[in-house]
Amino acid sequence: MTEPNGRPPQLRLVDAAPAVPEPTIRDTDWAILMAHAQDGDRSAYQRLLREITPYLRSLAARRHRDPSDVEDAVQDILLTVHAIRHTFDPTRPFGPWLVTIANRRFIDRLRRARAQADRETPLMPEHETFSEPQANLEERPDKYELEKAIDELPPMQRKAVRLLKLNEMSLKEASTASGMSIASLKVNVHRAVKSLRKILGDRSEP
């Protein structure tokens, strides 16, 4: 692969980022639109937001690889622009105002993403393995005790606690599964928990 002048292409240490259109040409247009928007012109505001979106997207594409991240960042910037639109001074250029907001949002988002990555660990197969009952033998006696206690409950309460607590269904799901109304499910599960607490001895309060 050679370039027209016959020399091999030079290696460049830059990202193959899409060229970002300079906002300078449209700057005055955008500033005028924003000034109208500040005075309450909705169509000008809509046009402005529509016109800056591709530009913001190209800015965001330099920072994020994932298209949904790009879109998130764009929306974040649009919301910020909306929230602080009164800080724009129409006598000053619009481009720097917008780019500063965009850059601050990018930095904040990246910082937050890193903090999240530090705090959270991805869920691996071993995490699930260790939460399975087979891996937690010592919890079994508790389980038998609980099962026995639930069997002693009145039938309606037993059904409610099984569906809502043991099978972790939502109220709606439990209602369709059992034919009981949501209100009666609520009442029964409340009573069931109360009597289970009495049967098993309340351990939450010494």
Partner: protein, 222 residues
């Protein structure tokens, strides 16, 4: 996630006209007027230190107080400028010369006072009144600045908080040296540094979170 065109639609549909902010220097002047009022009210209620006229002849004292007041004014202006997205961050160095004068003066006084008084020269009698001045000046000014600069939250919260805290600290220090007299100069000096450190520290610790409380919410429903 809502699609971006839909977001634009709903933002535009629910937009209300907004009042543009006044120029940053004007707003800083408003805030400084409030600061002057707070200090004046305190002067009425607590009374100016009795030996102020005499102390004003001492160049070290005058330079120190002027430095503190100047720091307050310049840092406030810098905070209001930097809170806007389209102003340069270089405004952050605006109060630097005043800070240099103020702190070097404190350092100089510290040294000379220490030598003349010795380590036992510090009295704690006025501590509670000093604390009252500190809280009464610092608290309203901090809150006012927080509310006035709330829209900086999504932009440069740290830099703005730092400048704001510096300004409040400097004004509080000026107030302290106006009202509290006597032999406790060394303590006042230490209070000066302590207040500054406290406000700047509290500002950087909690400023971000406080800003988020006051921050304008990007409300889609307008």
């Amino acid at each position: 996630m809502i699609a971006t065109p839909d977001l634009i639609e709903s933002l535009a549909a629910n937009m209300k006209p907004v009042r543009r902010l006044r120029p940053p220097v004007t707003r800083a002047a408003c805030w400084l007027l409030l600061a002057a009022m707070v200090v004046a009210l305190l002067a009425v209620s607590q009374g100016i230190r009795p030996d102020l006229a005499q102390r004003l002849h001492d160049p070290a004292f005058t330079v120190g107080m002027a430095g503190a007041a100047l720091t307050g004014v310049l840092a406030a202006i810098a905070a209001f400028l930097v809170s806007l997205p389209d102003r340069s961050r270089l405004w952050l160095v605006l109060p630097a010369p005043a800070v240099a004068i103020w702190l070097s003066n404190i350092g100089y006084q510290c040294l000379t006072q220490w030598i003349s008084m010795g380590p036992n020269g510090v009295s704690l009698g006025e501590a509670t009144r000093c604390l009252a001045t500190l809280v009464l000046t610092g608290l309203p000014l901090s809150l006012a600045m927080l509310v006035m600069l709330r829209y900086a939250a999504p932009l440069r919260p740290t830099a703005v908080t730092f400048m704001g805290s510096l300004s409040v600290a400097a004004i509080t220090a000026t107030a302290l040296s106006l009202f509290h007299a006597g032999d406790a100069t060394l303590m006042i000096i230490m209070f000066n540094i302590g207040t500054a450190a406290m406000f700047v520290g509290l500002g950087s610790l909690f400023g971000r979170r406080m800003f988020e409380w006051f921050a304008p919410r990007p409300d889609i429903r307008g």
